[in-house]
Structure formats: C-alpha cells, structure tokens
C-alpha cells in the first residue's frame, strides 16, 4: 500500500491545525477513504489526519431541545444509543441496515455526510429531522442546515481546512420512518430510500418532512408531497395520492444498481408503506427485503 503520512491529533484544535495544511484530509472511520486508497496506489496521497483519538468528537449528548451527535460517533454507537432509539428512530433504523457489523463498528456519521453519496443512508433521516452540521476551522465555527450542505454526488461545501464536528438534531415529538430497497439484505448500497418525520394529531398531518435517497444527485426533500399532506387526514386515499406525487418528485437514473423507472415508482411504494405504518400507529414498517 502506498502509505501516506498520517497524524493522529488528540484534540479538535490540533486536528484543525493539521487540516490548515492544504495537503491534509480528515479520516473518521476510514471505511470510504481506505477503499479509495486501495484503488489509487500510483498517485501521491495527501497527509491523513486520523480523528480516532479525539474523544470529544464521538460523544452523543442529549440536552433540552436538541441532540448533538459527535461527527465520529460510529453507526454502531448510534444503533446502541437508547436516547436516539427513542428520539431519532429513522436515523437508528438507517444505520442498522447499512453495510455490515464490521462496517457499522467503524463508519461514522460525519464520514457518511462528508462522503456525500446520494445513497448515503444517514442522509435522508438527517434531512427529515432538520439536522444542522457544525463546520469548524481554525478561525471559524458555523452551523449549516443539512439541505444546504451538499452540492452534488460526492461534493459538499466543506472546505479542505474545515472539519465536521457535530450534527445537531432538534428534539421533536414527531414519529417517523426510514425504508429502503437494496439488492440484498446486507452489504448493499440502497437502490432507493425514503425517510419521513411527521406530527400527526387526531389523524391529521400537522407537519411532515419527507426525504428521498438515491433518486437524485443529492438527497432531496419531497416538498410537493409535504405540501399535499400537510393539513390532510392520513388515510388510504391521501396516502395513495401522496405516493403518486412523490414519484413525480424523484429524478433517478439508471445505474449498475437499478433502473430509473423502477426507482421512480419505488419511492411511492416505500412512502405508502411508511405512511401506512404511521397511520396505524407503528412508527416503523419494514419491507420484505429488510427482514433478517
């Protein structure tokens, strides 16, 4: 392996200093970067700033009003977190389906965000939970709405000297779901995914957020569908109509994993199943594909 130079800072400040060197790249879990390293043995690599020693970055903190998830909290950490299981169900479902046990023990939420795959599984749940991302550099700290974070497949607004440090989720009384389709039941990138968060009072949708994964260059909010559902009673008829609208909002492509027309219709199927679950009071439903 063409081994690049690595540094392992002990604090966020030290990491930010290391990143100020333009030729440095942060490494969280490493599950994306090391795959890329494997394929590129003939090109020189930047210096790697390894974040494992920074304890502060791994913490999951619940306060009044919001949850802060440290950027290097792993999928397994999130899966195991009891507070998150109650308060951020769609996110917990998403990470529990991703990859494998080995991947989940290393992959981090910050890494998943930085990798910016349109099929990244943490992303649709973060969208529907109105997540904000803390980006820090030596001289700045700012919070970015997740919807403003991504520019395209693999591209974010993060500058090379910036580090994702926290992901903040406002606490809410909403229930939600995350559903996806993939070619097999483990180690599979999503063909299509749907996350939603809704507040339902007396059978009526008072607030709803829906995000679609793997059907556009980035994760997208299904705004037309959200507008349609808001204020309506959740029943079979509205669910069916919402499913039709959400299909029209998806802009998928054909690729090695699946086909555009299939994906387009499947967002509707997944939305329908998820909404039915919310209607029936069960916060989660799973498609056949996801049964272990």
């Amino acid at each position: 392996m063409n081994m690049p130079e690595t540094v392992a800072p002990q604090s966020i400040a030290a990491a930010l200093r290391a990143l100020a060197d333009r030729n440095a790249v942060p490494v969280a879990g490493g599950t994306d970067i090391l795959v890329k390293l494997h394929d590129r043995i003939d090109k020189p690599w930047p210096r790697l700033v390894v974040l494992d020693n920074i304890k502060q970055l791994k913490k999951i903190i619940i306060t009044r009003g919001y949850i802060d998830i440290g950027a290097t909290a792993t999928f397994a950490d999130i899966e195991r977190s009891k507070p998150l299981a109650k308060l951020a169900q769609p996110l917990v479902t998403a990470v529990s389906l991703a990859g494998s046990v080995q991947i989940r023990n290393r992959a981090t939420i910050g890494g998943n965000i930085a990798n910016a795959s349109p099929a990244g599984d943490t992303l649709p749940p973060l969208y529907v939970m109105d997540a904000r991302i803390e980006l820090r550099s030596l001289n700045s700290a700012e919070w970015i709405d997740i919807a403003d974070f991504f520019k395209g497949p693999g591209k974010t607004i993060r500058k090379p000297d910036q580090l994702i440090t926290r992901i903040r989720l406002p606490l809410s009384a909403h229930s939600g779901f995350f559903l996806r389709l993939a070619a097999r039941r483990a180690l599979a990138i999503s063909k299509v995914s749907v996350a939603a968060c809704a507040e339902i009072k007396s059978g009526k949708v008072t607030a709803v957020r829906i995000a679609l994964g793997a059907v556009a260059p980035t994760v997208i909010r299904a705004l037309k569908t959200e507008r349609f559902l808001t204020g309506r009673t959740l029943n079979e008829a509205t669910i069916a109509e919402a499913a039709e609208i959400v299909c029209s909002e998806a802009r998928p492509i054909d690729d090695i994993r699946s086909l555009a027309d299939y994906r387009k219709e499947m967002v509707g199927v997944l939305l329908k199943r998820g909404l039915r679950g919310l209607m029936n009071g069960s916060a989660e439903t799973k498609s056949a594909n996801q049964k272990p």
Partner: protein
C-alpha cells in the same frame, strides 16, 4: 465398524479453525520477489508499444518481461492451443496479460504495472455471440468465430411437432457468473539451481499447471514440480486459470533466478479470470395430450470469450444435458461455442448445464400448464428410469435414483401442487441430472493414480492426483483408505497433492474425485490389504477369507489381534506394505455427426423444490425454503455431502436472483467488486433442506458417484417456476431481479400473464 457413511469431522478442520493452515499468500520464501501483470486496456487491438520508462525507475523494480522473453512456447495449452501466455501483438479482451513486472514488494510490482502504458491501435470488438457467429469481416477464431459446433439428431422433429398437441417455444438468456472464491488467485514459483522449478499455489489441477509451465519455459515434465497449497475455494475458477497465473510467476522466477509470488487483487481477479459462459438458448418443446414429451428442438449458444480454453468441453456437457432427464424420441440440438472479445469463459460448477437446464426446466413447467397437468405429474410421466434410454441413446443400466429424489422431496416438504396457498407464495420444481466424470468429451484424461504407504507404526500416508478445494475430498478419501485397510481414521493422512508423487491424474473437475481417486486408492489399498490378510491368516491359523480388518484389528469370528501385530510381522518378513493404484474410467462413446453415445459412465440425479414469496409491488423475492434431494450413489460422508448441497444450492440462488457481470459497449466489465457483484450473504440465506438418496453405482467406491456440481444446477429454474406459481410471471433471463418481475407484472401484454388462476389464494 465401518467408517464409510460416517459424518467424520474433516481432517483439516482444526487447522483451518485455528487460522494456522497456510494458504499461498501466507507463505514467504527467502529472497522472494513479487510479480504483477500489465494488461490490455482494450477489448480488441494491436499493440504498438509498451511505455515502461517511469515504471522501471521505481525503487525496487526488478524487471519487465513480454512474450519476447518466453524461453519456450508462448502458449497456455488447455484443449486447443490458441491462448498465448502473454499477448504478442494482438489483444483480444480487456485485461488480457501483455507483460509481467517483477519487483521487491507487491506494492511496487502493482504500482509499476499500473505505470506501464500499453499503446494500442484500437479495433472494433465483437461482444455479442449472435453477431460474432459467422461474422463476415472480423475473424477471432477460424473462419466463422465458432470454437465448436455440436449436434444431436434423433428421430424426426418436424413430423413429431406436427403431431404435438402443445408446443412451447421461447428464448432464454443467462449472464456471466463469477466464481467469487474468497481467496484470490495466487502462485509461487521457486527456481532451483539444478534447472528445475517448483510451483505451489491455489489450484484445482496441478497437472494442467505443470503442462503450462513446461510449455512456456521449454522444460521437461520432470523438471517442473507442482504442489497444491490450501486452496480457498475454486468452483471451476481454478481449473485452467491457475495455469496462466503460474506461468506469470514462473517466467519471472526463471528469468531472474529468484522465487516469485503473484497474488491477484480482487478487482483484477474479477476482471481477468474465467467465468460461467453467458448463453442464449432457443428452445422449442412439444408434448402430446397424454402428457408425454414428444419433440425437442434446441439452439444453444455459449459465449466463449477471446480464446477457446474449455468452451468445447463445456459445450459437450451442455449438449448432452440439453433435453433434461427425460425420455424423448425426437430431438434436434445444435449447440455453438462462439468467440467474442471478452474474457475467456471457462469452468464453473455445472459446466454448461445450468444454462441449458434453466431453459429445460422452465419449458417443462410451461408445457405442463398448457397440458392442464401440474408440474409434478408431468415430470413423473417423463423422467428417466432404470433401463430407459437417454437423449444421446445411452441405456441407463444402473444407478438411476431420480424418481426417488422426487418422492423424497414431496414427502419431506409435504407439497401438494393442487392445494391452496398463502397469497403471492409459490412452489417451483426442477428435476435434473449430471453426468459424472469427464465423459466422452474428456476421455483421454479419464485416468487417475494413487499411492499408499503403510508405515511400520500403522500410520498410513497416501497421495492422489486430485485436489482438496473445500469439498472434503481429503476426508472422504481418508475414509475410503481407512475402511479398506481396516485402520482407524486418525491413522490416515493425505500428502498435499504433488505432481511428483503420482502419474498425471487429470483435473479435479466434473465431480470426479470420489470415483476416480477413490477407485485408484482402492486399487492400491487392496494390494496392501492382501499382504496384511496373508500374514494375519498365518498368525491366526485360518483362511484368508475368514479374516476381517476393522478399526485397527484383524478379526475372525472367534479371535482378534491388533493390526499392529500383523504389521510388525509383515515388516519383519520384509513384505511390501506400499502400493500404487490406477483407475481408468469405463468406456464412453460419442458420435459427432449424430450426437449419440454413452456420454458419461454414470449420472447423478436431483430434485429441487423452492418455496418463495413475491412482493408484488417491489418485485422482491423472498426464498423461504429449498428442498434438495440428490441421488449420489453412496454418501461416504453424509455431513460433507450435505455441505455440498447447501453450498451449491446457495450459489444457485445467487445465479437465479442476484448475480450477473455486465459488459459495456467497449467490452469492459462493469461490476467487478463485491459491492457491485452481488452474492448472497448469510442474511439472504433461505432454509435449505438437504436430502441424500442412494442408488449405488456398481463401479463407484462403495457405490458412490460424484455430485459436487449438481446442487447448483437446478436452483434457478426451481425459483423461476416458483415465481410463476406465486404471481404468474415468467422471467426467462437471469438473474431474476425485482426490476424484471416488477416490469413483467406491470406489463399487461406480458406473454405469460394469467388473469384468474384456478387455484384459490387465501
């Protein structure tokens, strides 16, 4: 107490469980260098030059070698001698080896190989076997790009079809299937000062490797010694490919006079090594209203890739099995292996039969439906039984357990084709067969040697020419040796397969090891046994035929002595307790014009039943259970036999539902990693119920016949038939993805859509 039929624990199990067993890449040799391969970037072209200046400047670079450096002949002989070791001018598939780089570390070798530019004049490739066949301008092989054409002619299909009450005619397509053995290709070559060279590595066929290395280096057989290392999975993918890999290591080792190791990177392995032949099958079958199969007309085309390699033999097997395990008097089969500019396809568990059986078994269900019969009844009326004659005119004189496997599956599953079932679930059946051994297509290779030495302390070492690749051969053969010599199983050890120990014994393929090596061992053991019994009869004062050797004792009805005493006496008298064994397959025959002959010495048989549930909205298939009953003659070790059934069944499920390697318009393989080439994980596994049926093969050791490939072969059609039973759509191209089912369900013009099924769904 005989050890035959016992679920003996595999001999190597503990070593593997400890992680202590050495696979090729676990071995280091003093002074070892590493090789990597420079490969063609285009599917068809002419090499203009190699640019290697920057590569050669890397620290640790030791050499770059092309076909010009080959001391012997630039050929890796398999069946026809058309495949070069290193491309000499013309390249014919993306990934074709052009040069070898040797360096001090694997990383440097791979980096250097990546830095060598192969400058080519690109030519338009032929990628579709249907256009490649008889192409007017581009010649990849011979005049017509056809590696081989085979035929079966029997009866009069045209007249027979005219009399049929139902006819079903369809086209089926299957893709590349990749072996995906978890251990990539790996070889080590060690040159010796005396002009000999030792090769060790991951392989199925040490004698093929020897032949390739002697050819490329221009050496005699006696100068090349090939020893198989622990091999991490093969499935046919390590039948002929290791010959090429070994030559890559050997060339570097020979020219630099240093040991050289080569290990393929996974993506490289997936791009450059053989796969199951993609196929197109045009199948027309007809039956009479009494439910009898009357006529079959087949065109079977397999996509052989750039070089002939094993295509002719794959075609042979596929052709022989092209009517399925049924009686049929009117047959017209034309099969073709066609050259294209893709990686040469080769051996993969089933060897040309899974493709054709997918078509056969799908056809059978469609015929049954049109006749108004259920799939089970239709098969019962047509399956081959003892004394029947096969499609190639072979009378089945013994060991025909197909009906038994069918009965067993029905009994164990409780399936009734006519009963109600849960909505969107379905059952699907397939009945298949498999000629054991190389058959008439590989006659000249159908011989095996063995040697057995009983040491003075009673321990026994034996060698054979076939290899352990995970199927449990070491254990099964040890059981045979232990039983024949009357010793406890733990007294018996197999030496790693080594070409210097036994004569050329052919390849470890075609499910032939148990019968061929087993019989060769019985031959050797019988000679030793004779010595032991002779001596024991003197000691015990009785006739030889009154003595049994069992579990370390020589016994008569009244007396028993430890075998060690007998051995001691033998040793004192200088009796020879070592022997060679040899087994030659019984005769087979084949007529190229008519496609008639006794194609294989014996057949194994199987019935598969799949239970699926289909999600109508997403098209996803949940395979809940698969019953698989196999007639294997005799289960020498039932636990290992079950392991073959379970493993092959899941590989068949992958072939049915998930696995395909796609090719783009330039001939590039598109999904060449485990993240994009989708194999079943443990989470995808259905319940698999293995069943063993035993109809003894008189010429097999203890009645056993081989069957390692068979478990894969009938799964795809069983699942396809089950999907049809569940939701009424029939998919005729593999893999049966959710997208295809979804599309078929939406398409109201879908050919097989049935509105209103006569069986109630709850």
């Amino acid at each position: 107490m005989s050890v035959i039929g016992k679920r003996a624990v595999r001999r190597e199990a503990q070593v593997r469980a400890d992680g202590a067993g050495l696979f090729t890449d676990d071995m280091k040799i003093h002074g070892m260098l590493h090789a990597a391969v420079v490969r063609s970037p285009v599917a068809r072209g002419e090499i203009i030059r190699l640019e290697s200046r920057s590569a050669s400047r890397l620290a640790g670079f030791e050499g770059l070698f092309t076909y010009k450096n080959i001391p012997g002949r630039n050929s890796v002989p398999i069946v026809i001698d058309d495949q070069p070791c290193l491309a000499a001018g013309r390249v014919n598939y993306i990934g074709e080896p052009v040069a070898i780089v040797v360096a001090q570390s694997r990383e440097t070798a791979r980096k250097a190989a990546g830095m060598v530019t192969v400058v080519c004049r690109e030519l338009p490739p032929l990628l579709d076997p249907l256009t490649a066949r008889n192409h007017r301008k581009i010649r990849l092989y011979g005049d017509d790009n056809i590696f081989k054409h085979m035929k079966i002619r029997r009866g009069d299909v045209d007249s027979a079809f005219r009399l049929c009450d139902v006819i079903i005619e369809n086209e089926y397509r299957t893709p590349f299937q990749e072996h995906a053995y978890i251990e990539p290709q790996a070889m080590i070559a060690v040159p010796n000062p005396d002009g000999t060279i030792d090769i060790s590595g991951s392989m199925q066929c040490p004698f093929y490797v020897r032949k390739a290395v002697t050819t490329v280096l221009g050496l005699k057989d006696s100068a090349v010694r090939v020893v198989q290392c622990a091999t991490g999975g093969a499935f046919g993918g390590k039948e002929d490919v290791p010959s090429l890999v070994a030559c890559q290591a050997a060339l570097g080792a020979w020219l630099l006079k240093r040991p050289v190791k080569i290990v393929y990177d996974r993506t490289e392995d997936m791009i450059c090594t053989s796969k199951r032949h993609p196929s197109v099958v045009r199948y027309k079958s007809g039956a009479s209203s009494d439910g009898i199969l009357r006529a079959v007309e087949v065109e079977y085309i397999i996509d052989g890739g750039a070089y002939a390699t094993l295509s002719a033999v794959v075609l042979f097997r596929g052709t022989v099995h092209s009517v399925g395990p049924y009686r049929c008097e009117n047959i017209k089969v034309d099969s073709y292996a066609v050259a294209t500019n893709k990686v040469p396809a080769g051996a993969f568990r089933g060897f040309g039969s899974p493709q054709i059986l997918f078509a056969v078994e799908s056809q059978m269900d469609q015929l049954a439906e049109k006749l108004g019969l259920d799939p089970l009844e239709f098969r019962r009326r047509n399956i081959l039984k003892r004394n029947d004659v096969t499609a190639t005119g072979q009378k089945l004189q013994y060991s025909v357990g197909l009906e038994d496997t069918l009965d067993r599956v029905i009994r164990v599953s409780g399936w009734n084709p006519r009963s109600d079932r849960e909505k969107d679930t379905g059952f699907g059946l397939s009945t298949i067969f498999y000629g054991v051994g190389l058959g008439a297509g590989g006659k000249h290779l159908a011989r095996t040697g063995a040697n057995v030495i009983m040491n003075a302390d009673g321990s026994v070492t034996f060698s054979v020419g076939t290899t352990e690749i995970g199927q449990g051969m070491v254990t099964v053969l040890s059981q045979i040796v232990a039983d024949r010599l009357g010793v406890p199983l733990d007294w018996v050890t197999m030496i790693p397969t080594d070409t210097s120990r036994v004569p050329d014994s052919g390849p470890t393929v075609a499910s032939r090891s148990t019968t061929m090596s087993g019989n060769a061992l019985l031959d050797a053991c019988t000679k030793i046994r004779t010595q032991l019994i002779d001596e024991a009869s003197l000691i015990l004062g009785c006739r030889p035929d009154q003595i049994i050797l069992d579990d370390g004792f020589a016994r008569t009805e009244t007396k028993s002595i430890p075998l060690l005493e007998v051995i001691k006496a033998c040793t004192a008298k200088r009796r020879c307790l070592a022997a060679e064994g040899w087994h030659v397959s019984p005769p087979t025959s084949w007529d190229d014009e008519t496609g008639r002959g006794d194609a294989y010495v014996v057949y194994s048989w199987a019935t598969n039943l799949a239970l699926v549930k289909v999600d109508r909205e997403t098209g996803e298939v949940d395979v809940r259970k698969i019953w698989a009953a196999h007639d294997i003659g005799k289960a020498v070790n039932p636990a290992l036999a079950e392991g073959q059934i379970e493993g092959g069944t899941l590989q068949g499920l992958g072939y049915a539902l998930m696995e395909e390697m796609a090719v783009d318009s330039k001939g590039k393989l598109l999904n060449t990693e485990f993240s994009t080439y989708i194999l079943p994980t443990a989470a995808d596994q259905p319940d698999i119920v293995p069943e063993i049926v035993e109809h003894a093969y008189p010429d097999g050791p203890y009645g056993a016949k081989g069957f390692g490939e068979q478990p894969l072969m009938g799964i795809a059609p069983a699942i396809a038939n089950a999907i049809y039973d569940a939701v009424g759509v029939r998919i005729r191209d593999l893999p049966i993805t959710p997208e295809k089912i979804w599309r078929a369900l939406k398409d109201t013009n879908h050919k097989d859509r049935i509105s209103g099924r006569d069986r109630a769904h709850s």
